[in-house]
Structures are given as C-alpha cells and as structure tokens.
Amino acid sequence: MSGWAVEAVDVRKRYGETEALRGVSLAVPPGQVFAVLGPNGAGKSTLVSILTTLLPLDAGTARVAGYDVTTEPKAVRSRIGVTFQESVVDLGLSGREVLFYHGRLYGMSGEHCRRRIEALRPLMALDEALDRRVKTYSGGMKRRLELARALLTEPDVVFLDEPSAGLDPQNREALWEQVRALGAAGRAVLFTTHYMEEAERFADRVAVVDHGEKLTEGTPAELMRALGGDVLHVAGSGDVPQLAAVLLASGACTWAEERAGGLQAGVGESGPAALGALLRAAEATGYTVTDISVRRPNLNEVFLKLTGRSLRD
C-alpha cells in the first residue's frame, strides 16, 4: 500500500438541517495510530461511518487504503477492519463461531479462518470461553472478541469507534496495549474517543473536532506546546489580578490570569525558575500562598482553550 492509509479532503455531511461535518480533512499514514477527539455529537461517528462506507458523503473526497469510498466501496471494505461504538456480536453464537462466520463472509476458507483464530487467541485472551456462547461474556470479553473480529481479515486500516466505551480501567489498559501493537505492526489505526487521556497517551497524532469541524491537529506534544508549555497553578488568598500583573511584568511568564479562584500562569519550559519570581511577586503584593504546583498542560486544557468549554460538558 502506497501513500496514505486514510485521506479525507473537505468531507461534508448534513442530516436535514444539521451539518454533521462541515469540511473535515485529515491524513493518516500506514503505521500510525490516529485519534479523533471530541465531545459526543461532534461528528466523530459520522466521519467513521463515511470512511467505512456506511454513509455516503455529501461533498469532498475520502480515500481509504488507496481507494475512493464513493466509487470503490468494495475495495475499501475488503481492506478495513471496524469495531463499532455499540457492542454488536451475536449472543447466541460462541466466540469461535462469531469469528468463523465473519471470516467466511469475507471469503476466507474454513482452514484460513481456523488459522487466523489460532493466531488471535493470545490477543483475545478468552481461553476456553472462546467456545462458550457470547451471551455469557463480560463487556471486556465482548470488546476483545470484537477487536479480534476486526483484525481477523488482516486489514490494512483499522477503525475503532469509541473502543473503550463501557470498559473498566483494567480492560481499557489491555485494549490500548493491543491498539499500540497494531500501529507498531504497520497498520493504520483511526480511533475516536471523548477521553483526553486516551488520545494523549495512545495516539501518535490527534485531531480535535467539535461541531463537525476540525479545530486543530498535531502530535499530543505539539498540541500541548501550542498552549505555551508548563502552567503554574497558585492557590492562596490576596489580590490575584495584582499578583498576575506583577508576575507578568517580571517577565517570568508569558500569560497570567485568575482561574478557579487562584492564579494560573504560562511559564514555558522554565517552570522551576518561575517559582522564585512568583514568591517575590507574592511578597510584593501581600498575597499569601498556600499551594503551588507546576503542571504540564493536558489535552483537556487544549480543548478548553480551543472551544471555551470543558470536554465533559
């Protein structure tokens, strides 16, 4: 496969009056784990539906694994693996049967299916449960089965729509380990999430979307750097605006403002050095400091800054 694993150019989609996607572009090379991050209703699932040929797009172009989703959907379908937001496995079948029928549907021979199922056993970690009915499975087991199903056909591009939804922390860690391994094995992975920490920890690159638009895109480190580096958080009592003004004047920070009753200031890469300046400024303005911390910003703050609201709102 040459070029991009996923390439969307100005993709638009509307449902009646609602514009679900207002021109989204993104490109994912093979071997990359790419996160589409945004709150519920941002258009993430619509984007995945278009890229996986479930929905037609209104305008723009999208190519997956080198094929156009509109004109060559069949070529796209035979090269992608997908897990959906909601768990969709046949409860009346055993895990092995679910995989077997899936492989047969893709035209794999019975023998090929059996070989692939064996190869995926460590990843599924279902052991003897593989031959039990799926209705006896826990949420985590179902998710692992669904991931194995998506990988059964050895797809070039894997789409995971909210893969961690409904999983407990332990299962979540295991899932992400597997997702990272996919990227390392040269497959492109595009996943959606509304959890900052998932995008931050597990994606090579993140696109932040909201209201059907891409707000920004970059590696997690780039996005955080764009915020101005480390943030100094100060709690205490006294005149915060005055403290901010003095601190800013000292040149120890690039911005300073009152937030959450205390002071926050962007101190770039020089967090520790700024502490001295802060203490001097506090003394000069009669501000009583009760707590100081220097934090790396996280994507949550990136999102807050871009949209003016917190991700979980």
């Binding site: 996986t52 040929t53 479930l54 929905l55 037609p56 069949k74 070529a75 379908r77 035979s78 992608i80 997908v82 959906f84 909601e86 969709v88 496995v89 046949d90 009346g92 079948l93 049967e97 029928y101 899936h102 047969r104 549907l105 893709y106 035209g107 199903r149």
Partner: protein, 252 residues
C-alpha cells in the same frame, strides 16, 4: 451468493439452537389444529364431501405457520438493524442484497421445517394427503414456496422499513388474523358474505389454500391450479420487488 449462504447458515444455526423459537412458533398452529380443529370436525361431520374438517384446515394451518415463521425471519433482520449488527455486514465486501436474500431464505427455511412438523401432526390426527398423486405434491411444494417466499419478502420489507420494533410487530401480526379469516382457510368461500368473499379473492392465501386442497386431496380446484400458481407467482414477485426497494433505501 456465497455471502448470502454464510449468513443463511448463521441464521439457521441460531434457529436450530434456540428451541424456544421453534416451540413458540409451532404452539399456536398446533393448538389451532389440535383444539379448534378436532372439536370442529365433530360438529361438521360431513364437511365438504368426504373431506373432514381437520384435513380441510390443514393447508390453512400451514399458511398460518409459514406466516409466523416469516414474521420471525423479519424480526431477525429487524433486530440486526436495531442493535447495529447489520453494520458488520454493511462494512463487509459483500453485496447489500445478500443480507436481504439471507433473511428471506432463513424465513423460508424455518417455515419449511415447521410446516413439515404440522404435516406430520396432521397425519397423526388421521389426515391422509396424497389424493392428488405425485403431481399433487409438486403443486403443493411450488405453491408453498411461492406463498412463503412472498410473505418472507413482505415481512422483510416491513422489517427494513419499520423505525421501531413495536411498529414492526404490530403491523405484521395484524397480517396474520385477517389473512387467515379473510380466506378459505377455515371455511369455504361460498359460506362468506359477499364483501368478505371479495376481500378473500384479493388474498393470496385463498389461492394457496385452493392449490393445496387440490394437490393434497384431489379436491376440485375452484380457480384452477394454473391460475392459483400464477397468481402466487405474481404475488411473490411483487413482494420481492417491494422488499428489494425498501431494503435498498434503508441501507443507503
């Protein structure tokens, strides 16, 4: 076609495994025959010449059974649409139509299995089909397949078009009773008031029953077997066309 077979195989495995579906869909037809039929046959001793009442309603019970199986076949597609399972098929490199064909195919296969049970029970109750000879059996089988395929398509169309499970079930179960009572399934057309008889002429069940009475018992056909089969074919084709259109629209 291979994809349709894989899906059909999957539906059938689930069906054969869930005894509940088999028992539940046979319960009403068996009660209809065992309670209503047995008692009525004592009321109407010389019904339709030498044909006793149980024998007379056996084709109707078959029609009812086939309908029930088709309704459940449609429900399979509906639940796959509602819980999102259909997406697994829609992102797979298979023709969309395979999903539809598999749903109709499994409805038809379920109807066939259940109808065989009904025939066996009817024979145990003393019904002796076979008066129409080998050709008769052939007529029965063709009529059954056309009738069942037609209703499998109707229920699949309803399942593809319905927005909720309630909408589907209330619309298709509404089919069942009028199709049975608005036909010659339980009583001959001649005993109906004119308005009902006109409705019965528009009901494909009527021609199915007529073909079966003739094929099985050599009972004189009212419309002619060729017309029966021809009309059932038209019905099946119309239903298939309808199902195809509605399904295509529903999967985009």
């Amino acid at each position: 076609m291979q994809a349709a077979l894989v899906l059909w195989d999957k539906h059938m495995r689930k069906f054969l495994r869930s005894r509940f579906e088999l028992v539940a869909s046979l319960a009403i037809p068996l009660l209809l025959m065992g309670l209503f039929g047995v008692t009525m046959s004592r009321v109407m001793i010389h019904f339709q010449g030498d044909l006793n009442y149980i024998a007379y309603i056996t084709p109707g019970v078959i029609a009812f059974t086939a309908l029930t199986a088709c309704i459940l076949g449609g429900a399979t597609l509906l639940s796959e649409r509602m819980n999102g399972a259909i997406k697994e098929y829609l992102v797979a490199p298979i023709p969309r139509l395979a999903v539809l064909v598999a749903a109709m195919g499994s409805g038809t296969a379920k109807a066939t299995i259940e109808s065989c049970v009904i025939v066996l029970v009817a024979m145990a109750l003393g019904v002796r089909p076979g008066g129409g000879g080998l050709i008769g059996w052939l007529v029965v089988i063709v009529a059954f397949l056309l009738f069942t395929l037609g209703f499998a398509a109707v229920t699949v169309a309803a399942a593809a078009g319905a927005h909720t499970s309630e909408a589907y079930h209330s619309s298709v179960t509404l089919l069942n009773v009028p199709l049975l009572f608005g036909s010659n399934a339980l009583y001959p057309l001649m005993s109906m008031p004119l308005w009902l008889r006109i409705l019965a002429y528009c009901n494909p069940t009527t021609y199915f029953i007529d073909a079966l009475l003739n094929g099985w018992y050599g009972h004189p056909s009212q419309f002619g077997v060729a017309l029966d089969l021809g009309l059932l074919l038209v019905f099946a084709l119309l239903a298939l066309g309808l199902a195809e259109r509605i399904f295509r629209r529903s999967v985009g």
